[in-house]
Symmetry: D2
Subunit: 143 residues, 4 copies
């Protein structure tokens, strides 16, 4: 896996403050909670970098259901930590987008990973990404 | 509040095993997680006592959105505890149902509370409970 | 219940963006998710108004486990809504604090409620609130 | 990736009923919720196949923090579905265990994946798996 490679291209970063509800009895953030943080990163990347809020795309009938998720846990984070969720595009194809994520605390890597999403219509049928979206995505990668 | 009064009528009990994902860094179940357990109790009460699975009622266009929730935390529970979720009906009106809950561990009270639900159609419009449902609910109370 | 009364005193407001992970199949925020939002409001109230981050108090051995929670659901909110979580103090006693919350969307009330917390030491023993904290809390109420 | 290969060895299966709190506004189970189901599967595998409840191992100071998680989403599941969580061992080394999972609904694959866990002591220091545990794990693989 190439996850260890530092991603290039335009990245967007959102701060996130860990709450009690994210932690578990080991005193650290629960392993499943990071998929929520990936979602926050992905949503804000779409809104702020692509200028296409996911809510607006949904209303047009363009959906990106997840087909794969990968997480590598490098160090732990705990209650009240201020994390940085960094999101970018790792791969684009005609029918899918792969986002990559790095979650850090004071510069230290906590979790990294990716999620791959198919492009479908409301009925779940695979649908080609529009040329406009592919170009917008491409501009974030080739920088 | 009359929550302290031991509820009467038909009660239905579901076991629940606490997972890491339910706990927080204080080593106990997160206070918000109990509303999930109330939902489990309510769903199984409807399926097993009323013989009306909520999924089937939804398909007929009968919804019960929550309008109020109350929880009283009496003692804590932790990872791997085997809890009992006990659910019953506390009150019925033409347009609402109030469920009451007691969550215990080895007979010791952990959380008790209630949730009140309006009866609506798919568009959220208040709709009278059917006579059949009121009777089924009534039978669980007057025992 | 006096929840309907508009609270007075110093209130602190935090914005919150609803994610997919907060919603359920009815298309709205899951009823249990609001207790996470109450926690966010409470934590930021302590940090910003009381100047006592909860994490710091915990490290000194001062804990505030929840003993009661109440939520009144007034209208629904959905994916990508930008909510405002408004938190204040409703009641103080020697051994407990009650926070009150109002969650709104564009000024419209979504959920209101309160949580009551006991004051304990690390072992869970009831412990009087310090005079300094009572005064800091009092200043937020009597404005 | 070899995830597509049907796993061999002893597998343990737990039923799981999907609740509203697991779903999102797309009407299906939220992608992050499956890591909770993996945890349920893993816990019951340890209790029932290895005869080593994780809670008991923790009390002896043996911890298995997650270092990697992978999920492949094959089809969706929705409210009130009765899922089957099937868990087994995919790989064992001196310092780690990899669990594999298949979540199905009426025999249809919903999600499959794995989680890799390091073996550590209470302070997070890598610690060799005991010979007894390696043998118990090995018996579940070589069948």
């Amino acid at each position: 896996m190439k996850n260890e490679v530092r991603p290039r291209g335009i990245r967007f970063t959102v701060p996130y403050r860990v709450i009690y509800g994210d932690t578990d009895k080991a005193g650290v953030v629960y392993y499943g909670a990071y998929l929520r943080l990936f979602e926050i990163g992905r949503t804000e990347f779409m809104r702020n970098v692509l200028n296409r809020p996911y809510r607006a795309m949904e209303e047009e009938g363009i959906l990106f259901p997840v087909v794969e998720a990968y997480l590598r846990y490098k160090s732990s984070s705990t209650y009240d930590d201020l994390l940085e969720i960094e999101t970018g595009i790792r791969e684009i194809s005609s029918y899918s987008i792969t986002f990559s994520y790095r979650i850090t605390r004071s510069g230290r890597l906590v979790v990294q990973g990716h999620t791959k999403h198919a492009s479908t219509d409301r009925k779940g049928k695979l649908t080609k990404l529009s040329q406009g979206l592919i170009e917008a995505l491409g501009r974030t990668v080739n920088q």
